[in-house]
């Protein structure tokens, strides 16, 4: 692993959508990031001891930039959201396995809530490789949607819990219509959404090996030393989310044993 520890400078802080914060950080680590990889971010809040895992939402390797998009759910994210231009944050990474993006098949991305973050970088990488890319994107309401302008060259289909934009309901309701043929599926969002996607695939006879999910779980270390981020492995035992994932082929996971680690 080439992960290193670095102080990154916050270049910009913004709120690209309701309930979402974006931090753009300057760091030479940007050049090493593969879409789907994450960083362990040190937080100095009274309520936080451990680092917090955040996906690199996107990178600009030439300018040495990494973007993080997140929401405030607790002490760690609250502290992070209070960073401003000029502040320094301490990054460990890039960590884990990103998405496998080679190949020519059409790509369908399934995003729930803040799970959209990682698709900024991933959709860029996919369309850059000339792959036809569709994003199915669900959120609570229209104001919580990251603007479609952040995803050039992709088709986008929306779903909101309150019906204020796109389909009125869950993003997984869009699957049947959107996924035709032999598309590769990339998913990031709450664990219940991933579970629903897998159930749909089993019903629709879509091979799980065609689906890659980004798995979220509390992390102790992010580097394989604490064994805290266990993900049930198909056939028994556990994988480590921080090493075998977070992006992982759905057929490797034993979904009946997957718990929503955040009790969401």
């Amino acid at each position: 692993m080439i992960a290193t520890l670095q102080a990154a400078r916050v270049l910009e802080r913004s709120t690209p959508m309701g309930g979402g914060v974006e931090l753009i950080c300057e760091t030479p680590l940007a050049a090493d990031v593969h879409p789907g990889q994450f960083f362990q971010v040190a937080v100095e809040s009274p309520g936080a001891l451990l680092r917090r895992p955040y996906s690199a939402a996107w990178t600009d390797p030439t300018r040495g930039l990494v973007g993080f998009v997140f929401n405030v759910v607790g002490a760690g994210s609250d502290w992070l959201a209070a960073r401003n231009a000029g502040d320094r944050i301490d990054l460990l990474g890039p960590l884990g396995r990103g998405f496998a993006i080679d190949g020519g098949r059409p790509a369908v991305c399934v995003a729930g809530g803040l799970g959209i973050a990682v698709f900024i970088g991933l959709s860029n990488a996919l369309t850059g490789r000339g792959r036809s890319t569709t994003i199915l994107y669900g959120a609570r309401s229209a104001d919580q949607l990251l603007p479609a302008a952040r995803f050039p060259k992709t088709r986008m289909q929306l779903a909101t819990d309150d019906g204020s934009a796109g389909h009125h309901g869950r993003v997984t309701a869009l699957l049947s219509n959107a996924i035709v043929g032999d598309a590769d599926i990339f998913a990031c969002g709450p664990t219940p959404m991933l579970v629903e996607l897998v159930r749909w695939a089993q019903r629709a006879d879509v091979r799980l090996a065609r689906i890659q999910v980004a798995h979220e779980t509390p992390m102790g270390c992010g580097v394989g030393t604490c064994l805290g981020c266990a993900l049930p492995r198909a056939g028994g035992g556990y994988m480590l989310t921080c090493q075998d994932g977070p992006c992982i082929s759905a057929d490797l996971v034993e979904w009946t044993r997957v718990v929503d680690a955040f009790h969401g």
């Binding site: 936080a48 580097v223 030393t225 028994g236 035992g237 556990y238 718990v259």
Partner: protein
């Protein structure tokens, strides 16, 4: 002034270049260490290793608490054979002692593992985890002086490796247990392992950990660990290794002042991967500033083993 001597003798030939080790379960088997300069360490203590491979507990396995964390990993490990075959040959090439943390459900397990590891190149010593609070039977040895002594004696007879025994704080009379273990032939003691704790997710009305309870580590337990070392170090005549909530040089010095001969850094590794190295350097600076040339100047009380 001359060179600072940071070396520590933990008995039976286990000599560390630095008094700062990484604690069991917080550094795996020493391989996955991004951003870490391993050469600064006194020793690596491995994840708890059992006779057969173990899958460990279902998730959720960790949770944060004020200045601490709970873990219920459940001793996930590849088993002693894998350690001997796959890891030890690599360790043998390192310029750094590796101490294997050993766990089991019965005396025979410990004895079998100790036999298997005896004389294997690359293995510098054993640390007996008689206190892992996550596996039901794991508690039994650590909380009973007689049992702890018997286990230590059995392992002592099974191996010529340096033997460190790790105390659990989940007991009424730590000193009695420490004495029994020392009398049974342990070369050193480490104190402390985690304390059993619990966190409940109020919103979802269930324990956060699938295992319900887990071991509490981190700065929250440091005062308890310092007190344990303070009491044990004056009661036994073998070196005591302090562990529990060490994040900084000052924290480590608290333990060395309390009578510890060396320390282990655990949870801090997750937060600052270079913590152990930084603390080692900090201790060296502290000695230099005071004009001391070795760690012997530190303890507040004369150690029992001198």
């Amino acid at each position: 002034m001359g060179e600072i001597d940071l070396s520590v003798d933990l008995g039976r030939g286990l000599r560390l270049r630095s008094p700062v080790m990484v604690a069991s379960g917080t550094f795996a088997y020493g391989f996955d260490a991004p951003a870490v300069d391993r050469t600064g360490l006194g020793a690596v203590v491995t994840k708890g290793t059992t006779l057969r491979p173990r899958h460990g507990n279902p998730p959720v396995r960790i949770a944060e608490t004020p200045s601490g964390m709970l873990n219920a990993i459940g001793l996930q490990n590849p088993g002693v054979d894998h350690v001997v075959q796959a890891f030890a040959p690599v360790w043998a090439r390192w310029d750094l002692p590796v101490i294997v943390n050993v766990a089991g459900d019965a005396v025979e397990d410990y004895v079998a593992i100790a036999r298997r590891l005896d004389g294997v190149p690359g293995i510098a010593g054993l640390e007996l985890n008689i206190s892992c609070p996550n596996v039901e039977a794991g508690l039994q040895f650590g909380v009973d002086a007689r049992l702890a002594g018997r286990l230590t004696q059995a392992v002592r007879q099974a191996t010529s490796l340096p033997l460190m025994v790790k105390l659990t704080p989940n007991v009424t009379d730590l000193v009695a247990i420490a004495r029994a273990i020392a009398d049974a032939g342990a070369d050193s003691l480490s104190a402390i392992n985690t304390l059993v704790g619990m966190k409940i997710d109020v919103r979802h009305r269930r324990p956060v950990l699938e295992n319900q309870v887990g071991g509490l580590s981190g700065p929250a337990i440091r005062p308890l660990a310092v007190r344990a070392v303070w009491e044990v170090a004056s009661a036994v005549s073998i070196p005591v290794v302090g562990v529990g909530g060490i994040m900084t040089t000052e924290d480590a010095l608290e333990f060395l002042l309390a009578g510890a001969s060396a320390v282990q850094v655990g949870t801090a590794n997750y937060v600052r991967p270079q913590a152990a190295r930084e603390i080692r350097d900090g201790i060296a600076t502290h000695l230099t500033e005071h004009g001391w040339s070795s760690l012997a100047a530190l303890p507040l009380r004369a150690p029992a083993h001198v």
